[in-house]
Symmetry: C2
Subunit: 373 residues, 2 copies
């Protein structure tokens, strides 16, 4: 495994080896403060999603600004967070393998641990794991609020699961998980708001149904970088799980704000640093960063700072870039900063964050990357 | 960094934690032998591409069957190969950063190292690095044979570079690199053959031009899993750089053979093992493997062994699977083997190969994964 970082503290940015994952620390800190400021006094808690960054260093920075803990999607992520000093982790996802449930129950001896369920037999399995470790695991019922991924339907199916959790030894019923993933990337402000309004209604009705059966929801959890303001204003959601806001990416930057222009709440803080490795024609050059340095699930990266060049096609280790022949600012050895199409799976390709301020490398933070088993 | 493997030697396959990268060792060994057998007596050398596997263990297995060494795309890959016991590595790619050239020149003190160039200033930089370490680096001129990525045009531009290499201290001119990447994935057998025929002509003509100027090409290198038989029969290519043949993937399996049916030279030996984590409706279930466990650049994975289920959409940690309602063979906790759309960038998402034979885990091989700096 290649765990040597691509730079040293104090190095000049231009001397970082490529491809490398850069954090512009000023921009990152701006984003950190921005979400904390925007949600202050709104009566909601922040529990940012660590699936984005997979870094306990960043999680602790988020908590220092008021976050109550973080979310994860995988047990391995939760372990990395707890081992890195995060005392409160919600796995906002279903965990079904017996070995993983054992690890989760063991972790609940060290930190406050929550997990989501959408299946009755899974409730029983989590209860058995918790009893085996004499630990207590908080459990949320995931309801499908519109994304059609995991989750039971709102209403009666959620009630049945909540009742089962409430009577299961080792478990504590905590509330509802209702994340509308698809709404995050709806471009129109009004359409995003409308999608979240439907999710809020489902969560509100289910909460009321549970209350009529004597089950109180401490948490109604969800929201992401594209919609958090709507959930925060809903009067229903209690915890916000935005993750990408710390970094931004090309896809989130395509969302539109209330006035119809680009959303400008957060700024690009994450880049893949790449080198021009070939200039075969006047119209085309090649970068040293492709599928193994950038995730293309939301399209190719944007090239920062330069308007007349476009990353048009990637391959495993290369990026083909179209340049305007009349104005060719780049030559072999030049560096460019790429804005990833999608930040989370791009982060997952790298072992190190190279944090820089101005032109100097200031931080090297390891990434608990991996497929997450 | 999560370097704990997802299984133990001797474990039952069904107890491997997911998502995990599996190698069916019988199928893998079949593929290893198959390429060696098919090219035996054809007067070409095998230099398989280690960009596919990033494993010195696998490289040494390839050499035990006759390969003369391996190719890499990155200096970090070359370091991993040499450190893992491979004495002969060709970087079939351009390396331009001064730090990386220093590392390459240092590595050439430990092993036979080759690299490709498509730029005169790069030739000078490699020469300077080699002199600085008193090492000798073999250099091939990369020519563009049809992929329009790196490489100079065949003919005079290649001659100029070859002459420059030949007179540069510390460098040894070795020949031409002419890899037709785009031809690998042309579905029709005849169209693939025609594309390679054009590449062969460009390489032959350039070789002849260089010979007229007193420069002999020890190697004409290229070819991949989709076309190697054509280059092997060309009488021009001397080294074959196929990589994916050891594993296969869904994309290569879409290529057609001479009779119009699927190519059956190699079998699927690489899988991502996944678990059914949610069964929200009768038509749909969710797997625990998405963009962080599988590369989607060549489409979603295929589900092995099962005909009535389809992986229709991925997200970061999930896969949505469509099932035939009348016949639902899968339930929560069940495991499935996924055939990746594209093997190389999928391998790069994992830290460990879990090699199994029958139903038992037999090998755990670390992967020198990473963006490759």
């Amino acid at each position: 495994m290649n765990t040597r970082p691509p730079a040293e503290i104090g190095a000049r940015l231009q001397d970082v080896e490529t491809p490398a994952l850069l954090i512009d620390l000023d921009a990152f800190e701006h984003n950190l403060r921005r979400l904390a400021d925007k949600t202050k006094g709104m009566g909601v808690r922040l529990r940012p999603h660590a699936k984005t960054h997979k870094s306990a260093v960043i999680a602790r920075r988020q908590m220092a600004l008021g976050a109550v803990g973080v979310c994860c999607q995988k047990v391995s992520e939760a372990e990395a967070m707890v081992n890195g000093g995060v005392p409160d982790v919600l796995v906002s996802n279903e965990i079904v393998e017996p070995r993983k449930l054992g690890r989760l129950a063991a972790l609940a001896r060290q930190a406050r641990i929550g997990v989501c369920v959408d299946d009755a037999t899974n409730v029983d399995a989590i209860s058995a794991a918790a009893q085996s470790y004499s630990s207590t695991i908080d459990v949320l019922v995931e309801i499908n609020v519109g994304s059609n991924r995991c989750g039971v339907d709102p209403g009666e199916p959620a009630l049945a699961l909540a009742q089962r959790i409430a009577r299961s030894p080792g478990l504590r019923f905590r509330g509802l998980q209702g994340y509308h993933g698809k709404a995050q990337h709806i471009r129109s402000f009004e359409a995003r708001r409308a999608a979240v309004a439907e999710a809020v209604e489902k969560a509100r009705d289910t909460r009321a149904l549970l209350a009529r059966h004597g089950l109180d929801c401490e948490d109604i959890a969800g929201a992401g970088t594209g919609t958090f303001a709507f959930e925060a204003q809903s009067g229903v959601y209690t915890e916000l799980q935005a993750g990408s806001y710390i970094f931004m990416d090309a896809d989130y930057a395509r969302n539109l704000g209330e006035a119809g222009g680009p959303v400008e709440e957060f700024v690009h803080a994450l880049f893949v640093y790449a080198t021009v490795m070939s200039t075969p024609t006047r119209e085309r050059l090649v970068l040293d960063a492709g599928f193994k340095a950038l995730s293309f699930d939301s399209g190719p990266p944007k090239i920062a700072d330069l308007d007349d060049v476009e990353y048009v096609a990637g391959s495993d280790e290369h990026g083909n870039v179209r340049v305007t022949p009349s104005n060719r600012p780049l030559t072999i050895g030049d560096r460019v900063r790429l804005i990833p199409g999608h930040c989370d799976p791009t982060v997952n390709l790298h072992d190190w964050y190279v944090g820089y301020r101005g032109e100097r490398v200031e931080a090297l933070w390891p990434i608990a990357r991996g497929p997450g088993y």
